[in-house]
C-alpha cells in the first residue's frame, strides 16, 4: 500500500470546503459584515470544521494599516516552548494539540467564577478583526490580523471584586499532547500576568483566530491573549485558566530569569535587555531594521497606565 501524506478526497466532508470564490472574497465579506453579530452567527459552524476553519470579524478602528506579515511566516516562526524551543518546532509538532473539548475557567476574586466551554466564548461577543503589531523580546516583529474579543468583555462577565488587582493567565501544560512540556526548560505551566487595568484595556484582546481563520495550533489555539504594547511572551497561549488576584503574580519568565524579564515587559527601546539592545527590530519579511517605538507604537493609548512609574525599574 502506498503511504498517503495528504488527506484523501473522501476524508473531507463537503461541508468543510469553502467555495474558492467565497474564500477569495472573504475580505469583502468581512467588510460587509460590519455591525452584524457575525461571531454569534458563525460559531456553530466553526466547531464543525476540522482545519482551516474560516472565521469572520468586524473591522476595528484599533487596527494598524501596516502591511501584514505573510500567513506562512506567522504560522511557521513561533515561540511556543510547549512544543519545543526552536521557532520551527511549534509548526512541526503542534498538530497533536487537541483543542476540542476545551474549557477556560475564570476564578479567584470574582463574583461569578465560571468555566466556559470554548464554543461559548465564541458566542460571548461579536468577533473583531484587530490588526496589531507584535514585537518579540528577541528583536523581531510582525503585523498580524487577529480575530477575537476584548478580554474586558470576558472579565466583566464574571464581575471582578474590588480587591482584584492583578490577573494571572495559566496556559495548558499537557505532556501527552505538548511534547515540550516533558523538558523542564520552563517551570510548567506557562504563567503570565497583567495588572487589572492592563487586562481591562480596550487593546487587550482574547484571540480566537487570525487571518480569517480559527487560530492555528502553533499560534496558541484555541484561545490566547494578545497584548500588543508588551513583548510577545506576555501574551499567553492555549489558556486554560484565568485567575484574578490581589498580589502581583509570578510569571514563567520571571521565574526563569528575573534579571532579564520583568513583570511589565512593555516594549521600550530605551530599556535594553541585559544581553541585547531593544532600540531596533527586524520586521519579518524586511531587510533593513526599524526603530522600535515606545509601547510598540501604542503609547497614545497606554502610556497613561504607567504615569509616574520609572519604567527602567519596572521593566
Amino acid at each position: 500500500m502506498l503511504p498517503t501524506f495528504s488527506r484523501r478526497p473522501t476524508d473531507i466532508a463537503p461541508s468543510e470546503i469553502t467555495p474558492r470564490d467565497v474564500f477569495e472574497r472573504r475580505r469583502d465579506f468581512l467588510g460587509a459584515a460590519a455591525g452584524v453579530a457575525l461571531g454569534t452567527a458563525l460559531s456553530p459552524l466553526s466547531a464543525a470544521f476540522a482545519s482551516e476553519k474560516p472565521l469572520a470579524g468586524i473591522k476595528s478602528p484599533l487596527s494598524t494599516p501596516e502591511k501584514l506579515t505573510h500567513l506562512k511566516d506567522v504560522t511557521s516562526y513561533n515561540n511556543f516552548y510547549e512544543f519545543g524551543t526552536d521557532k520551527a518546532d511549534p509548526a512541526l509538532h503542534a498538530h497533536t494539540l487537541k483543542t476540542r473539548p476545551w474549557t477556560l475557567s475564570i476564578e479567584g476574586l470574582v463574583k461569578q467564577p465560571k468555566t466556559f466551554a470554548i464554543d461559548d466564548i465564541f458566542k460571548l461577543a461579536p468577533l473583531e478583526e484587530r490588526i496589531y503589531r507584535l514585537r518579540c523580546v528577541e528583536g523581531w516583529s510582525m503585523v498580524i490580523p487577529w480575530l477575537g474579543l476584548p478580554l474586558a468583555t470576558l472579565l466583566k462577565s464574571v464581575e471582578p471584586l474590588g480587591s482584584a488587582k492583578y490577573v494571572e493567565f495559566i496556559s495548558a501544560a499537557d505532556p501527552k499532547t505538548m511534547p515540550g512540556v516533558n523538558r523542564s526548560v520552563i517551570d510548567w505551566p506557562y504563567l503570565e500576568g497583567l495588572r487589572l487595568d492592563e487586562a481591562m484595556h480596550p487593546l487587550t484582546l482574547l484571540s480566537l483566530g487570525l487571518y480569517g481563520e480559527v487560530l492555528p495550533n502553533q499560534n496558541g489555539a484555541p484561545l490566547r491573549l494578545v497584548v500588543p504594547w508588551k513583548y510577545g511572551f506576555k501574551s499567553g497561549k492555549s489558556l486554560v485558566k484565568i485567575r484574578l488576584v490581589e498580589k502581583q503574580p509570578q510569571t514563567a519568565w520571571m521565574k526563569a530569569n528575573p534579571r532579564e524579564y520583568g513583570f511589565y515587559s512593555n516594549v521600550n527601546p530605551e530599556v535594553e535587555h541585559p544581553r541585547w539592545s531593544q532600540a531596533t527590530e527586524r520586521r519579518i519579511g524586511e531587510f533593513l531594521k526599524r526603530k522600535t517605538l515606545p509601547f510598540n507604537g501604542y503609547a497614545d493609548q497606554v502610556a497613561q497606565l504607567y504615569a509616574g512609574m520609572d519604567l527602567k525599574i519596572n521593566f
Binding site: 524551543t85 523538558r183 544581553r275
Partner: protein
C-alpha cells in the same frame, strides 16, 4: 590492522583528498546560498544565516581540534596535512558569521557595535575569539611557520584551545533559555581538550615550560 593500509596515501592522493575536502567544507555555505535563493530559510533568513555560519565556525574549530586525537587513535599521520585547511575554514566561517553581525544586524553602525562589544558579555567574548583567531589565520602559511620557528609557531597556535572555549561560552551566553545545544558543544570540547591533558607526558610539559622561561626573561 587492515585500515593501516591507508596509512600513507601518495602525494597525488593527498592532493585529491584536499580538493575533495575543500569542496565538502563549502557545502554549508552553498546550502545557505541555495536556501536564500529559493527562500527556504524560514521567516527570518538573516537570523538563520547568522546562526548557521556561527555554528559552522564552531563545528570547524572542533573538527580541527579532533585531527590530532584522530591521528593518534588511527595512526594516520597524513591527517595532519588536512588540518591547516580545516582551521582556515573555521576562520572563514567565523569571518562570515562576524560579517553578518556587522552588516545585516548593525549595518556598520560602529558606535552601536563598540557599545555592544563593551556592554554585552556574549559579544565581548565572541569578538575575543575572533581577535585571537586572526593571528592564527595570518600565520598559517608554511612560510610563516618557518619564519616563526616550529616551537614558537606551535605555542602561538595553542591559542585554538582558548578560542574554542570562548566560542562555546559565546554560544552559551547568547541562548535565551534552552542551553542544550551549547551544553553538547561543551561536552565535546571537554573531551577534545581533556584527551590532550591525558596525553601530555610530564617530560614534554617540562620541556615546554622550560622553553617559556627564556622568553619571559
Amino acid at each position: 590492522m587492515d585500515w593501516r593500509i591507508a596509512q600513507t596515501p601518495g602525494k597525488r592522493s593527498i592532493v585529491l583528498l584536499k580538493i575533495a575536502l575543500f569542496a565538502c567544507c563549502l557545502i554549508p555555505l552553498l546550502r545557505l546560498a541555495w536556501g536564500a535563493w529559493n527562500d527556504t530559510l524560514g521567516a527570518n533568513p538573516i537570523e538563520f544565516i547568522t546562526r548557521s555560519l556561527g555554528s559552522w565556525a564552531l563545528n570547524f574549530l572542533l573538527i580541527t581540534l579532533s585531527v590530532t586525537p584522530l591521528r593518534k587513535f588511527t595512526g594516520w599521520h597524513w591527517l595532519m596535512q588536512l588540518r591547516r585547511m580545516l582551521g582556515l575554514y573555521a576562520f572563514f566561517y567565523a569571518t562570515l558569521h562576524l560579517s553578518t553581525y556587522l552588516w545585516l544586524d548593525k549595518f556598520f553602525d560602529w558606535q552601536e557595535i563598540a557599545k555592544d562589544i563593551l556592554k554585552r558579555p556574549f559579544i565581548t567574548i565572541g569578538m575575543s575569539a575572533f581577535a585571537l583567531l586572526l593571528p592564527l589565520a595570518l600565520t598559517s602559511p608554511q612560510a610563516m611557520v618557518r619564519r616563526l620557528g616550529g616551537k614558537r609557531w606551535q605555542r602561538l597556535h595553542r591559542l585554538i584551545y582558548v578560542i574554542a572555549i570562548c566560542a562555546v561560552v559565546h554560544y552559551w551566553w547568547l541562548v535565551k533559555l534552552d542551553v542544550s545545544l551549547p551544553a553538547i558543544y561543551s561536552v565535546l570540547l571537554c573531551l577534545l581538550l581533556g584527551i590532550r591533558l591525558l596525553w601530555a607526558d610530564p617530560e614534554r610539559r617540562g620541556a615546554v615550560s622550560g622553553n617559556l622561561k627564556p622568553a619571559q626573561e
